[in-house]
């Protein structure tokens, strides 16, 4: 600790330059400081190192400089007040000197104005122009004591005015610089010595006095000085302790800041990793969702393929082959065969009927192929959507809501047909929807697929309705209703949770991803059911512009 104190006190510090006067101070300060810092319990007992000492010394010097500057400014004001007070005292006590009924301004008034001004002017100028400098406070000390002398004189040597000296010394102690007190004391002593020798009545009030009487007066000043030195020493101790604490605290703060920066960097890194993990997980979830949706579409694809296959099977390829064989057998006499042979004569009608018969499944196959193409396109869109999600961008298009609804119904149409689901539409005229087509399609296909599943085990009419309207808030509402199995109250919110499903082969992704997609589009997806067996209503609400 000693090293700390020695180093934090600047070279011109009173404590380091008054070994005779303040012997043992350094040791006392050292011990006290060490105890305070070490035992405070509020600050960590940081081992003193050179950086800490250097910083503490810097803070000490700053605090000392602030104190000196502040005290200089205080004295500048005080000295101006004293000057004015001296003039006021002269005007009050001895304004005029008289001869009978005639008078003129008393010499004391001029002395108060001119001499007081001379004493006050220079130190005030120094305090304002060069605050904090060593010379400034010493000049102030000299001027302050001279002011005491002037005030004593102006008040007719009143003993009470001598107290101004002692007050001035106390005030000068504000500098916490014992040398300033020494300067003031030297001036007081010199004044008493010189005036005691050459003008004793002006300072001691008697004509003749001992040539050592000035020592008595200076002794009383030294008595006050001694007390003030002790006070200054204690204040400097406190300043050095505060500086050391501040330096320690700053060190702690720097360490904390460093750790904060370090932890923040770690957190940022972890956050980035989490973000990437989350993104990958999100992509996996989307992939699952995509597979789910692709699975839905593949059902339709399968149905279409099956239908096309059965239609192809219905083709009477064998009859056509028989006709071909017959024509080949009679290739040499084909005209006779067609005109004379009873089978040959029936052949044109037969071919005509065969063509008619083949045309019907061909048309059905064509329709299925078209549906198949649409389903394949939708699968492409779903895959593209995943790629779009993976890239983090979505394409906003102006869409016809009716077309969106029809497309999503069409994707599921084969399934609806196979399960005898009667789909009704109530589509009110609404403005075009500006949004991401594939996300809306994903939601609607899923909702329709779910509704179809809800109707699978439903006895009686299997009814599904799709309603489109604009609500009072201006949002688009697409409502999918069914009269299927319904949703128990306890599941009404859980159905949107990831992985929750009531279907035997479900994965619990459809509604979850649908709700997320709706949210991403700025809308909501809500479910309502009056209970098991009472059907369900899903409402997709979207802003018309996204």
């Amino acid at each position: 600790m000693s090293a700390v104190v020695t180093n934090i006190l600047p070279q011109d510090n009173p404590l380091t330059q008054a070994p005779a006067l303040l012997s043992g101070t350094d040791m006392g300060l050292r011990q006290q400081t060490g105890t305070l810092v070490g035992d405070s319990g509020t600050l960590p007992a940081v081992p003193p190192d050179s950086a800490l000492q250097q910083r503490a010394a810097e803070l000490f010097r700053d605090a000392e400089n602030d104190l000196h500057r502040h005290t200089d400014h205080l004295f500048a004001r005080l000295m101006l007040v004293q000057w004015l007070a001296g003039i006021a005292a002269a005007l009050w006590i001895s304004p005029l000197t008289w001869i009978g009924d005639s008078s003129q301004v008393h010499l004391h008034v001029w002395a108060a104005v001119l001499l007081g001004g001379a004493i006050t002017g220079f130190p005030v100028w120094l305090a304002l122009q060069h605050p904090g400098q060593v010379m400034t406070r010493h000049v102030i000390a000299v001027a302050q004591v001279l002011t005491s002398a002037l005030l004593i004189h102006l008040t007719g040597g009143r003993i009470e005015t001598h107290f101004h000296i002692f007050g001035s010394l106390a005030f000068l102690a504000f500098y916490r610089d014992w040398r300033v007190l020494v300067t003031a004391t030297v001036v007081v002593a010199a004044d008493h010595l010189l005036r005691g020798l050459f003008w004793p009545q002006s300072v001691f009030g008697v004509l003749t006095t001992s040539s050592w009487r000035w020592v008595e007066h200076a002794g009383w000043v030294l008595f006050e000085d001694a007390i003030l030195f002790v006070a200054i020493r204690r204040m400097l101790q406190e300043m050095s302790e505060i500086s050391l604490r501040r330096a320690t605290l700053e060190g702690s703060n720097l360490e904390i800041e460093r750790q904060v920066v370090e932890r923040t960097a770690e957190l940022s890194k972890t956050q980035a990793e989490l973000l990437e993990t989350s993104r990958l997980a999100g992509m996996a979830e989307v992939a699952t969702s995509v597979l789910h949706n692709v699975g839905n579409v593949l059902n339709s694809v399968g149905v279409s393929a099956e239908l096309a296959t059965s239609k192809v099977r219905e083709f009477r390829i064998g009859s056509l082959k028989n006709v071909a064989d017959m024509l080949q057998q009679h290739s040499e006499d084909l005209p006779a065969f067609l005109t004379t042979d009873p089978r040959g004569k029936m052949l044109p009608d037969y071919l005509l009927k065969l063509a008619v018969h083949l045309a019907e499944p061909q048309q059905a196959i064509l329709e299925e192929m078209q549906m198949l193409q649409k389903n394949i396109d939708h699968i492409k869109e779903i895959v593209a959507m995943q790629q779009s999600y993976a890239r983090g961008t979505g394409v906003v298009e102006s869409l016809s809501v009716e077309d969106l609804v029809e497309d999503s119904i069409r994707i599921n149409a084969a399934s609806f047909s196979r399960h005898d689901v009667n789909v009704t539409r109530e589509i009110a005229p609404v403005p075009p929807l500006k949004t991401d087509r594939h996300k809306v399609m994903q939601i609607l296909v899923n909702l329709l697929s779910n509704a179809k599943h809800a109707l699978d085990n439903c006895e009686g009419d299997r009814l599904m309705s799709v309603r489109v309207a604009q609500n009072q808030e201006g949002f688009l509402e697409i409502i999918v209703m069914d009269n299927g199995v319904g949703i128990p109250a306890q599941n009404i919110t859980r159905i949107f949770s990831h992985g929750f499903t009531t279907k035997k082969q479900g994965h619990g992704f459809g509604l979850h991803s649908g709700a997320l997609a709706a949210k991403e589009l700025g809308g909501t997806l809500k479910a309502h059911s009056d209970g098991p067996g009472l059907g369900a209503t899903f409402t997709l609400t979207l802003p018309l512009e996204n």
Partner: protein, 181 residues
């Protein structure tokens, strides 16, 4: 300023015997102190402070009266300044107005603060001031002389410089300027 403080006023030529024509009352069987003051003289404040000490130190040994000059044309309010009130507040001191300085003229006192001590028989024992310098309180030879005379420590007449403004009853500038130089 030091020179100003230390420059004494003219002492005049006080009468060696109490003037019987004076309005001032001489107490029988006691020494009598007569002090002349200019009511506006700032230096005389210290004189009254010394008189107060004198009255305290030598209580019952003498009678004291202070005469305040009232120059012609000045009102009594001008005379009854704070110095008047200070003097009147000192126990045992009789305060009077000296219109046109007639009493000062009679006693030949010319400087404010001039103090005259007459013994029981009316003989002048002390003349001068009881301050050390202009307006300065403190121990001074004038007060010491008076205390010694009253306590019969000395028997010879004594004097001391007087510091104060000119009382102004003398008309020539030369007679009055010493205290203002």
């Amino acid at each position: 300023m030091a020179q100003y403080s230390q420059t004494a006023g003219p002492a005049g030529s006080p009468l060696p015997q109490w003037p019987e024509t004076s309005l001032a009352h001489r107490a029988p069987g006691q020494s009598s102190l007569v002090m002349f003051l200019h009511p506006r003289c700032p230096c005389s404040r210290a004189t009254l402070g010394e008189l107060e000490l004198l009255m305290a130190h030598c209580q019952g040994l003498f009678s004291a009266q202070v005469w305040f000059i009232q120059p012609e044309g000045m009102t009594e309010d001008w005379v009854k300044s704070d110095l008047w009130r200070t003097a009147a507040a000192i126990p045992g001191v009789q305060v009077n107005v000296d219109y046109k300085g007639e009493e000062a003229s009679l006693f030949q006192a010319v400087t404010s603060g001039q103090t005259l001590l007459y013994d029981v028989s009316g003989g002048l024992m002390f003349q001068g001031g009881i301050t050390l310098a202009r307006g300065h309180s403190g121990d001074n030879p004038g007060r010491d002389f008076i205390e010694s005379l009253l306590n019969k420590k000395i028997a010879h007449a004594a004097s001391a410089p007087v510091f104060g403004c000119a009382l102004g009853w003398k008309k020539t500038q030369k007679e009055c300027t010493a205290c203002q130089q």
